[in-house]
C-alpha cells in the first residue's frame, strides 16, 4: 500500500491522459482516414456508377441529391433524398449516412460538387460511397490535339 502511495502522481498523470485520449477519440468532428484511401477508391473511376448500372442494381441503395436552391432537380431519380451540400455534415444527415448499410450514391448538377463531397465523406470513413456519373464521361478528352510543326517558336514567347 505504501508503495502505491508513492506512485499516486504517476497514476494521476496516466489517468488524466487516458481521459483526454478518450474524449478526443469520440470527437465526431475529425478526419481519421489517410488521404491515400480516397485516391485508391477513386482510381480509374471505380467509385462512379452510371444511371444504367444504377437501374439494374439488385440491392437496396440510397440516392443523395446534393443540389440546393436553383441547382436542384437537374436529374430526377426516385427515392432520392435532398441534402444540400451546405448541410452535408449536419448531425441528422451524418447519422443517416453512417447508419446506412446500402450503397450510397451522390449526385448533383455539378460534378465538382459531388466530387468534393465524395472526398469529404470518404475521409470521414463512410463506406460503399459512389458518385452518379454524368451522362458522358467527364474525364475523357473529347478533342484531338493536332501538332502543328510549321509554327516556329518566336524568341519572345519563351
Amino acid at each position: 500500500m505504501k508503495e502505491l502511495k508513492n506512485l499516486q502522481y504517476v497514476f494521476l498523470f496516466l489517468i488524466i491522459i487516458v481521459v483526454l485520449v478518450l474524449v478526443r477519440s469520440f470527437n465526431p468532428n475529425l478526419f481519421r482516414q489517410v488521404p491515400g484511401t480516397a485516391v485508391e477508391s477513386a482510381q480509374n473511376n471505380s467509385n462512379s456508377i452510371t444511371l444504367a448500372q444504377l437501374e439494374s442494381l439488385k440491392t437496396q441503395y440510397l440516392v443523395i441529391n446534393l443540389g440546393s436552391g436553383g441547382k436542384f432537380d437537374s436529374i430526377r431519380i426516385k427515392n432520392s433524398i435532398n441534402v444540400p451540400i451546405e448541410n452535408l455534415l449536419d448531425k441528422k444527415n451524418l447519422t443517416i449516412l453512417n447508419e446506412s448499410k446500402d450503397e450510397i450514391i451522390l449526385y448533383s448538377a455539378d460534378v465538382s460538387t459531388t466530387a468534393k463531397a465524395w472526398v469529404i465523406l470518404n475521409q470521414l470513413g463512410i463506406k460503399k460511397l459512389f458518385i452518379l456519373a454524368p451522362e458522358e464521361n467527364s474525364e475523357a478528352f473529347i478533342y484531338i490535339f493536332q501538332p502543328d510543326t510549321t509554327v516556329r517558336l518566336e524568341n519572345d514567347s519563351i
Partner: protein, 200 residues
Amino acid sequence: MGPLSILSEFPEWLNLLIALFIGIGFGFALEQAGFSSSRRLAGMFYGYDTTVLKVFFTAAIVALVGSQMLSFFGLLNLKLVYVNPYYMNATIIGGVIMGAGFIMGGYCPGTGISALSIGKIDAMIFLVGGLAGAFLFAETYPYIQEIFLGNYKGEMRIDEWMGVSTGVFTFILIVAAVFLFWLAELAEKKFSRPEITSEI
C-alpha cells in the same frame, strides 16, 4: 496549433529570441544533469556512471511521446517538423568518427558548451578543436563530397521502415529503454569506482 513559428509566420527576430530561450533551457538542463563533467560522461563507457544513457533516453522518449500526443490532439502538425534526412554513408562514417572524438575529448559539442559555461578549461580546448574540425571539414569538403551525398535515403522514418505503427514503435522503444535503465544501474554497481564518482 504548432509549430508556431511556421504557422503563425513569426518575424525573424521573434524566432531568434525563441532560439535564445530554447538555448538557455538546453544549457540549463545539460548542466543540471551533470553533463558539464567529462569524467561523468566518460563513465558511460567504463560503466561507473551511466547518467548519459538515462538522460538521453528519457529526453528522447519525453519529446517523442509529447510530440505524438500533441499531434493526436491536433495541436502540432508533425509534417512541418524537420525530420533529419538519412544519407547512409555519411551518417555511419560520421557517427564512427564522432564516437572516437567522444572518447578522446570526453565531451560532445553540446556538453562541451555547457562545460565551458561553468569554466572548464578542457572544454574550451575541446571547442577550439571543434572549430578546427569544422574548418578542416570546410576545406576538405570538395574531396569528401561523394561520401557526404552518397546513398541518400530521404527523410526515412523508423516506424515506417519497420512496418509498425508509431504508437507500437514508441512502446517498443520505451520497453527497451526501461530494460537499459535497469541494466545501467546494475553496471553502475558492478563497475563502481568510488574514487572517481566522489570527485565529480
